[in-house]
Symmetry: C2
Subunit: 324 residues, 2 copies
């Protein structure tokens, strides 16, 4: 009756429905899951849900979950390997039907996720792991990074720097390569000293800015940042150091998931289609759950340069470069 079997006639149907009402019956999904051998539960493993990028990704996943009657359980790893391992183990024992994982990527033991693969457990990666072939969805950040630094150059910057992300993030390496390429492309000299140590948190960017202000090296006149958080921290430190943004130094961030657009000097940034990443990942996972033998699929989503004020382009009438 509950499962809308068409082979029950209206009379009994109504009768049962009334009894259900009367006794305030709530079907037990646990027992159902046990019998059915699936839970309609998905797991999402991210570093930190309070990062707006992951927040938006999770919204996308949630949308698809709602649509297909799945529930979502989120695990934060806080960039900690142990937690990644235990989080995955816990979700596996709880018999989630599949996992979406934003993994730690470099200098790290990845046996736990290799095991997932060996056991044919359905999962989607949100970032590549060296040596592991699996479904993947991520933003095509190379072109975004290229666009961003080229845009900085076109806006008149001659000493453009890159503020690095965390060392375990392959995305930071990719963006660094794209940054170099854009420099070369524009006939500018690459200079190691202009690759700045950063991180992923606002505080990391702030520290980088402080260091910059103290340095004797000529200040960069343009900085492309690993993400918006470090960009915002950097901006604040530079302002504290008496620099004017964008006149003294232009800044562009990455992600455009937070509130950068509402800063006093609105942040120019490369937008990642975060919600869409979440949606695509969830859809791909659902497909993988249905059919474990599908060939692996890699989905790359386009990024978009959102020109605002920190790059100084508006003032100078510069048009953003369209594509690599």
């Amino acid at each position: 009756v509950l499962n809308e079997n068409p082979a029950v006639n209206k009379k009994t149907r109504d009768r049962i429905l009334k009894i259900i009402q009367e006794y305030n019956y709530k079907p037990n999904e646990i027992a159902r899951s046990l019998a059915l051998k699936h839970t309609r539960l998905l797991g999402l493993i991210v570093k930190d849900i309070s990062n707006p990028l992951y927040g938006k990704i999770s919204m996308g996943v949630e949308q698809i979950c709602n649509q297909y009657g799945y529930s979502l359980i989120i695990g934060n790893t806080h960039k900690d390997w142990e937690r990644e391992v235990t989080n995955i183990a816990v979700l596996e024992r709880r018999r989630v039907d599949g996992l979406i994982i934003f993994p730690l990527q470099k200098h790290v033991n990845t046996d736990h996720i290799a095991a997932l693969k060996k056991n044919d457990f359905p999962f989607i990666l949100l970032a590549e792991i060296p040596g592991i072939k699996a479904d993947l969805v991520r933003a095509e950040d190379e072109s975004g990074a290229f666009q961003a630094t080229t845009h900085l150059i076109r806006s008149g910057c001659r000493r453009v720097a890159y503020l690095k992300g965390p060392s375990i993030a392959m995305a930071s390496d990719r963006r660094l390569r794209a940054y170099k390429k854009a420099l070369t492309n524009a006939g500018l000299q690459y200079d190691d000293d202009y690759v700045l140590d950063g991180g992923w948190r606002i505080e990391d960017g702030y520290q980088a800015g402080k260091a910059l202000c103290k340095s004797h090296k000529p200040l960069p006149d343009g900085i492309f940042c690993y993400n918006d958080s470090v960009a915002i921290g950097l901006l604040r430190a530079l302002v504290e150091g008496g620099k004017r943004i964008p006149e003294d130094v232009a800044i562009v961030g990455f992600d455009d998931a937070g509130m950068g657009g509402y800063l006093e000097t609105a942040l120019t940034s490369v937008r990642q289609p975060a919600v869409e990443i979440g949606r695509k990942a969830a859809e791909l996972l659902l497909r993988r759950i249905k059919n474990k033998n599908l060939p692996f699929k890699k989905i790359f989503l386009k990024t978009e340069l959102i020109v605002r004020e920190t790059c100084g382009a508006k003032a100078k009438g510069c048009v953003p470069v369209q594509k690599e």
Copy 2:
């Protein structure tokens, strides 16, 4: 063996452990839950996890969950009543052991949560619901709001406004009352026109700021805001309108969960102990799960005024008011 029963001797124990290894056995939590009649799952219902305040609260809940071997499943309601109802229903059917709910509060049917109570289902509220007695933990925002507006007045503001939150939020009403009280206390005239329509999102604050710039009424010289998001949107709109912060208008926000401290003009704000709220709520819920007959408990956590730059106090050497 798995459950660490002390009554099995080391030999068999080791033997079993080896077999477990060999077969790569993973205990099925679903079956376990069915037999045990509990799931060690908690549910958290919030409006929008990408709001940093809820992000931090969820981190607190997560901490306690980890500590006690629980998992957490989060449901976003997006301020939508239907979603609140269905989210709660879904989690109930999945047999979570308990729920932490940040509910819609006013002008809204609350039968679903009254039913929870009637069925003795363990849950904790993160905001009062009129007519429902239940466990509760929230920040003591009256005193925070009082402190904030008093601080504005002490910093020299004479036309201080309140930028309202969403109409369904009782917290906004409380803060409005505290604001009025602070005005009266300081011998200032309360003026309806200085209670501004806002909301909870950055965009709401931005709109309010735009409206303010167009108004013929004398601009307030100080604005106490429902939360940091609206404060940031407001600040941006005011800056766009050519106002100087804090010289023309001073601003103080509420929550201090996001990156307000890193704005070019760092945001003065009333800090809510968000992580602690999450922790306390989870602990209280666990206690409630263990014993359904405990008397209801209401926990109020202290707020703290974090003085930075948007209130203009630092410049004027003003010391924040300590307590109500």
